[in-house]
Symmetry: C2
Subunit: 375 residues, 2 copies
């Protein structure tokens, strides 16, 4: 029965697209039926015959697949620049669509995508922010946004655990070029953390970023980032990332009026201040005194369903109107952060959010104009 | 016999000066004989009668004490602005001198102090960088500077464990004012970390700092700092500090070509990369590959003699020419970092090191001119 399962097509069979196909083929998404897939590269289609379930129709263009009538939903897993184009194509055809991260390369094009989504409110549009399914970040967000610990004062994310070798960058001519990817670690590796950062702490109002381009690798784009941000309430933040540190770190600390939270790859720790700092200052009478600091164990649900969780929520939304992990329209928020970091680096000065999106596109275009694909 | 012990006078009997007196009185510095002390505040002298050993002469001015002929060495533990003045007075009188941190408030005045030291090479001049005696930082420096792990790529010090209450700031009219202290957390709390940072990693060549003044407290000076630096070899660094976080963090990470080191308040961890990243890139043939990361236990000598260790080394230098913990002339290095951070914040742009020291003094003078002592 058509209404039991969502018939899905996958646009793009690279690392992500083929990974989704394999998960579905392995039965991890019981409400999704893999109906079709498309890739313009004949060798990707050839490889697909090896892992696709019987009966999945393969197409050499997305357009043919979308016109085939075989599916009511699609995953867009093509190179970054083409995300908005295919999402819009799906939305306009009434095909529910899940977009791989990042939402696009520059916010200007993503605004067009979001406008199409607004024009098709009945077509489901989700973003593949699989890290939002991680119990650590879900719990972190819940604690921060509960209001129980007052306002955020400081955020600090050291996320350098994104090591990539030169051979990785050499493995695709489009990789790490302005023309092919439109950015480096901020566009390819960090969209998850940039999304989580804003999802948990909100968007800052000002960004001052120092980026290095081709610092650790022979590539055009940034592979090292130190960004400082300011939030509307006066809180500050720092975001450090790189693909050059072999043994990098993932440590996200949030200071609040009444607590400190530290999330790492596999742990979440909470220290409560008793009383919160503002309350303490109201009653304290001693020069050498401070709130009591008490570490409190944090319990999470331990669930971390990642890509499969995002896809199952997508199917449940289509079938029963249940909540998405991340709506497609939210993709622009993390991209706003990375665009602001690039723009600050290019202009050599702090950038306010919202920034001049036309200027961003002009600056990016200059770099695309002289960009050279490898090989 | 005069040569068995160093007869010492203490200039200034505030928290630090009285602390040193108590340590010596308790027999922790067997080669130092407390001979005299001076303070201009009658209540400090009165209090001193309670903890000073018998026979220690008390003076109401440093000048009288220095002219008394009672001692051959002195500790300068007066407010920051007066450090260079009293150190120079000692050096010119041939009195060995130990200066409390910071070396001074602005590098211009510290250069005069260092010139006096150069003119009196036989008079011992030490700086109270007691954190250099900490086994964790000594070992960290040894590992970094051994060359075994190649060059530094990234330094990251989150040192927000300097909480201070409003009552602390209210406890002295001079505290946290431009006129009284000439700076906030960078001048009063962080000189140790700024010294250790440069002692271990060297001085950067460029500083871009965001400081907030009176953000968490009713004070004139900075109580919140986010600074980004660049080193001559292209490495980058971040230094975050504050006196506003009740449960702050002390976590210092150094990324090298061949290792990661993380020092906290009470631990030092080392991860070796096998091989180092540059060596790995020469031989790697796989896109998805990275050096092996092996955590290696670090053994330190466990010693952490702090102020007493600095004073005992000072006495041993005077008596037998043994090494100081920190020579006085090195005090300018950490101060260079803090002055550069202030100047970057005041000018709203990155500052190169060496910076314009006359400009720094002018900018500080503007703030002193409108500064108001409390109470």
């Amino acid at each position: 029965m058509a209404n039991d399962k969502v018939r899905l097509g996958i646009i793009g069979l690279g690392n992500m697209g083929s990974g989704h196909a394999k998960n579905i083929a392995a039965g991890k998404c019981p409400e999704i039926e893999l109906a079709a897939a498309a890739d313009i590269a004949p060798e990707k289609l050839e490889a697909a015959r090896g892992y696709m379930p019987e009966g999945v129709r393969l197409f050499s263009t997305a357009e043919e697949m979308l016109d085939s009538g075989l599916m009511e939903a699609a995953i867009v897993a093509v190179p970054h620049y083409d995300h908005p184009r295919y999402v819009i194509r799906c939305l306009e055809a009434g095909i529910h669509v899940m977009c791989e991260k990042p939402a696009g390369v520059y916010t200007k094009q993503v605004r067009e995508m979001n406008a199409a989504a607004a024009a098709h409110p009945d077509t489901v549009f989700g973003m593949m922010f699989n890290q939002r399914t991680n119990h650590i970040y879900r719990k972190l967000r819940e604690l921060v946004r509960s209001g129980r610990y007052g306002e955020i004062r400081r955020t600090n994310w050291l996320i350098t655990s994104w090591f990539r070798s030169q051979k990785y960058y050499d493995s695709g001519a489009w990789r790490a070029s302005w023309r092919g990817e439109g950015g480096g670690v901020l566009l390819n590796q960090c969209p998850h953390q940039l999304d989580l950062w804003q999802w948990i702490c909100g968007l800052p109002v000002r960004v001052d970023a120092h980026l290095s381009y081709g610092k650790w690798h022979d590539i055009e784009v940034e592979d090292d980032v130190s960004a400082y941000v300011e939030y509307a309430n006066g809180a500050t933040g720092v975001f450090i990332t790189s693909t050059g540190d072999a043994g990098g770190t993932n440590r996200f600390e949030i200071q609040l009026d009444g607590a400190k939270l530290v999330a790492t790859e596999d742990s979440l720790r909470l220290w409560e201040y008793r009383p919160s700092t503002p309350e303490f200052e109201k009653i304290n009478t001693e020069a050498w005194n401070s709130p009591e600091i008490v570490e409190v164990p944090v319990e999470t649900d331990g669930q971390n369903p990642q890509h499969v969780g995002v896809l199952n929520a997508f199917a449940a939304r289509i079938l029963r109107g249940e909540p998405l992990v991340a709506s497609g329209e939210e993709g622009i928020r993390g991209l706003t952060l990375s665009n602001a970091m690039h723009l600050s680096s290019w202009l050599g000065r702090p950038v306010e959010i919202p920034f001049d999106e036309e200027l961003y596109w002009q600056e990016l275009s200059k770099r695309i104009a002289v960009s050279r694909l490898k090989g």
